[in-house]
Amino acid sequence: MWRKLVLLVVMCLVVAVFAAKIEIFSWWTAGGEAEGLQELFNIYSRLYPGVEIINAAVAGGAGAQAKAVLKTRMLGGDPPDTFQVHAGHELIDTWVKTGFMEPITFLYREEGWDKVMPKGILDIVSYNGEYWSVPVNIHRANVLWYNKKIFEKYGLKPPKTFEEFFQVAEVLKSHGIIPLALGTKDGWEAAHVFETVLIGKLGAEGYKGLWTGKTKWSDPRVTDALETFARMLQYVNSDHAARTWDEACALIVEGKAAMNIMGDWAVGYFYAKNFYDFGWVLAPGNEGIFDALSDSFGLPKGAKNRENVINFLKVLGSKEGQLAFNIKKGSIPARTDIDKNLFPEYQRSAMEDWLKHEIVPSVMHGAAASESWVTDFKDVISLFVARPDVKTTQKALVNIAKAQGVPQ
């Protein structure tokens, strides 16, 4: 009797220790994104049955909280098996250069991903000739969303240039409608809008140069961008400090505000609220430019279930995985060989643009600069929203670039 019991206990322990597991870390907990993640889990479970998936997601927009948890775990020597990270400098500067990751170039060769993903995205997941993560999706940051009904009511055309933007805003203001919805509670949203203003004023090359030193931050076009941004801020809702990005989108849904500059995760929000009267154009002056960010997953050194992670990464990069995930998430696949007719209208247009527009990396979402630069940049712009002092702010922007070792 006792012997049997002991045997049973020992067997249970053995199973508990050796049971196949994979722990996946992300900040996808809301609406469409959680569903997209579930789709990936479903495919994985079908292909590799018997592996227990542990969903270690930490809630919080733009991953601010999740990143803090991740950093303490990585530094404490307890890495999750794989984790979500923005492709670009956030991946390379924070995790690759510091030696926390394993290269996965072999997977790219085996699966042929380097042939189906465009150069713009391959560039930002590589370092020292190796690939370091698998991009699951592409989001676009430089979109201006508008309420179609309001625009029809006042006979307005969605603005393409800054001049048109201010004309439209003036008309809307005179009718008592908030021209531009903004939510700055989480601290990054204003800098997000300013990023699109920088692109609008400096163009793709000029904007990219800001992060490499080719364009100086003292450039008169940066002054122009700051002045324009200050002017735009005169047309935003007065309670923006009380709202998060989605609460700003709510103003568009409720018909209180007419426009909003936000990434295309706003589509997911609009659909979730059963709101279909929205239209989109590119942010003012952003014609022909795709301001991109990408969520990706990599292979940390010391992952406890290495084989399972490699299988999961294969699912992420596969046609099937990218299709299932992105339809739910509202973003577009990083692969270019997926039939766009399977996607809703907005995503179709983004997929077309992805192929023909010039791709620039988003700074506020980790693609263009290191996390320390992004944090300082965000702080300077946050202060600018309350105290629109162009001269001091430009000087501060020059200084933080210098502190990053970029010659000015």
């Binding site: 995790w95 510091t98 700055t184 309670d239 923006h240 400090a241 290191s370 992004v374 944090t375 929203v385």
Partner: protein
Amino acid sequence: MKADRIVALLFILPSLILVGIFIYGFIGWTGWVSMVNWRDVFPDFTFVGLRNYSRLFEHFRFAISMKNTLIFTILFLLASIGIGLLLAILLDRKVRFEGFFRTVYLFPMAVSFVVTGVVWRWILNPGTGGESVGLNWLLEKIGLGFLKSGWYTDPNIGIKAVVIAAVWQMSGYVMALYLSGIRSIPTELYEAAQLDGANVFQLYRYIVLPLLRPVTLSAVIILGHISLKIFDLVFAMTGSGIGFSCDVPALFMYDTTFRGNYFSQGAAIAMILLLCVAALIIPYLVYSIRSEVRR
């Protein structure tokens, strides 16, 4: 006698070791980190002396957040202690249903700061497009429309709006402290004063308030260290606020460490917060140890 000592030592040894490692050990570690050049996820232990501190004192966000903490601490202490004392005195006047009121006033303390923050974020939301919500709506309905304001979205108010929420939460606790203080004053003192012909005002002025001094000191210490370290309430209610008008050092520390990867700078902020709290508590400890010795 000697065996007694050894046994006593054995009993406190586990907690002594744990406290030594997890409090003083980590304080020492933080102090060390604040003097190295750790500015990336990967630690860099090059000693740089006080450079992180001098950089910090030049940082605009640190200056704003320290000023905010000062404003917050002063207003929060004054308001909580004033309201707490007033409520305690009123309750002590033998009101009916005292138990009920006591519970009502004390209840907010049972709520977590995060809940308080979220609720007051909604109450003090000024609303958009001329439409009033929350407290502004209430003010409008009762004819006090001129009192409407942008609350924490107004950079001139900022952190002062957070004070309202903090006072709501903690003044009941101060009331409880004072009430027990008042109740512990021996009745003979009241009777003697009444025999001498003291009126109610004089009774409080010359008997109750002087005897409550130690309670006030405890209240200042307890509330003071909460307010210097405040993080959760501000984080849930406003974040850094417009132009950092609601920012506090703890929030800056979190941001710069975990978003910006400036681990050394974060550690320097932690050390400065520690010094601020120490400046408040050490005189109190010295005072209380001395008075114990005297006894």
